[in-house]
């Protein structure tokens, strides 16, 4: 069994080192983008990758076929690797002396900024794949846009992550089509997953003050501007998969006080954190 560092992508540590080396003389984002808002936005990026990566890792040893098991674990590791870069930069921008580990292991649920979609339980394999596809289509569009970010550190991370996520999207889209347009059983499961998850897709495209500040500084696109491209991808794949999204669904996390970007999560996030953070909470500073 390879050691964990071997399993991450080859140039990850190089990239992390580069990001660190550049930290002394960085392209500082435009002054009107507050560093606090920048850090907040980076935590959204990092937390989406962290929580979805953790969800994907839960299939390790349980997926329906060995090959799918490895593919999902690879994807989980891709996402955890991206999370290290985003949260590492968030900690650096925050400049409170923390690092990515502190953000990942020592924040409580209310401080997490991931979308509700990624923290939902895995459900069956169809549900996991459908969630992955709906997020991948958004994630890929977002990373493509971030490659031209005004902040070179953001652009560097996006350039690396975009290649990985392009494959995630190719894989999840292919499987959604195969299972949607497969047997009656697989079709029904994929349709049920789509119907359930659809009401969590709106949050991806809801703009708030942080998003506006990032857009004004040229760091990131407004989420609402990504919707057309996402819809195009999703509609094409769902059509081919013979799946139909609900005509209209109440969207979680937009109206009212809830929503992952605001730190108001479903009850499921606490259970993820309990498992993920246990060791650092029980044995602070433990290393191995």
């Amino acid at each position: 069994m390879p050691s964990l560092p071997d399993m991450t992508t080859p140039n990850l540590s190089e990239l992390a080192g580069k990001a660190l080396a550049e930290s002394g003389h960085v392209t500082v984002p435009a002054p009107d983008a507050g560093q606090e808002q920048f850090s907040e936005w980076l935590q959204r990026m990092g937390d989406n990758a962290l929580i979805l990566g953790h969800r994907a890792s839960e299939w390790c040893g349980h997926a329906p076929a060995l090959e799918e098991d490895i593919a999902l674990a690879n994807q989980a590791l891709d996402l955890i690797g991206q999370c290290q870069l985003w949260l590492g930069l968030a900690a650096e921008v925050e400049a409170k002396g923390g690092d990515a580990d502190r953000l990942a292991y020592l924040r409580d649920a209310g401080a997490f900024r991931n979308l509700l979609l990624v923290e939902l339980p895995n459900g069956d394999f169809g549900m996991t794949l459908m969630r992955q596809f709906l997020f991948d289509a958004f994630h890929h569009t977002l990373l493509l846009a971030l490659k031209t970010s005004s902040d070179s550190r953001v652009a560097d991370i996006a350039a690396k992550a975009e290649k990985e996520v392009a494959y995630h999207l190719e894989r999840s889209a292919d499987l959604v089509i195969r299972l949607g347009d497969g047997t009656a059983e697989s079709h029904n499961r994929m349709q049920a997953a789509l119907t359930k998850l659809w009401s969590y897709t709106g949050e991806m495209f809801a703009d708030d003050a942080v998003d506006q500040a990032m857009a004004d500084a040229g760091i990131a696109p407004l989420p609402s501007t990504l919707k057309a491209a996402w819809e195009k991808t999703v509609t094409a794949v769902l059509d081919e998969a013979t799946l139909v999204p609900p005509a209209s669904a109440w969207q979680h996390g937009i109206t009212g006080s809830g929503g992952g970007k605001k730190g108001v999560h479903t009850e499921h996030l606490g259970y993820i954190l309990a498992e993920m953070q246990f060791l650092q909470r029980a044995y602070p500073g433990a290393r191995w």
């Binding site: 399993m7 076929a65 060995l66 490895i70 292919d174 195969r178």
Partner: protein, 94 residues
């Protein structure tokens, strides 16, 4: 539809100029998925630049029991190896 995915043999080319090498096998419903699976199972550590997949059923292999008749006769024919020629030094390594 059979409930078991067929077995595929995977060949990977490590770098341009080298031959594809057999690296192992895996299960997949069709060739396209076999390539995806091979990417995830066998190229995680940057091992390859190209993947071939072949259905294991489509490989015709020589039978181990026929090893004798197939290979033994060449044992005693050392003259088939080009070792009886003097090679001029300037030719170098062959």
């Amino acid at each position: 539809m059979p409930s078991e995915w067929p077995l595929w043999e995977i060949f990977i080319r490590g770098q341009h100029g080298l031959n594809h090498r057999h690296v192992g096998s895996l299960h997949a419903p069709d060739a396209e998925m076999a390539i995806r699976h091979a990417r995830d199972v066998y190229t995680r550590r940057n091992e390859g630049v190209s993947i071939w997949v072949v259905k294991a059923n489509d490989i015709t292999a020589s039978a181990p029991s026929e090893k004798g008749p197939l290979f033994d006769p060449s044992n005693s024919k050392v003259y088939r190896h080009p070792t009886f020629y003097d090679i001029p030094d300037e030719v170098g390594h062959m």
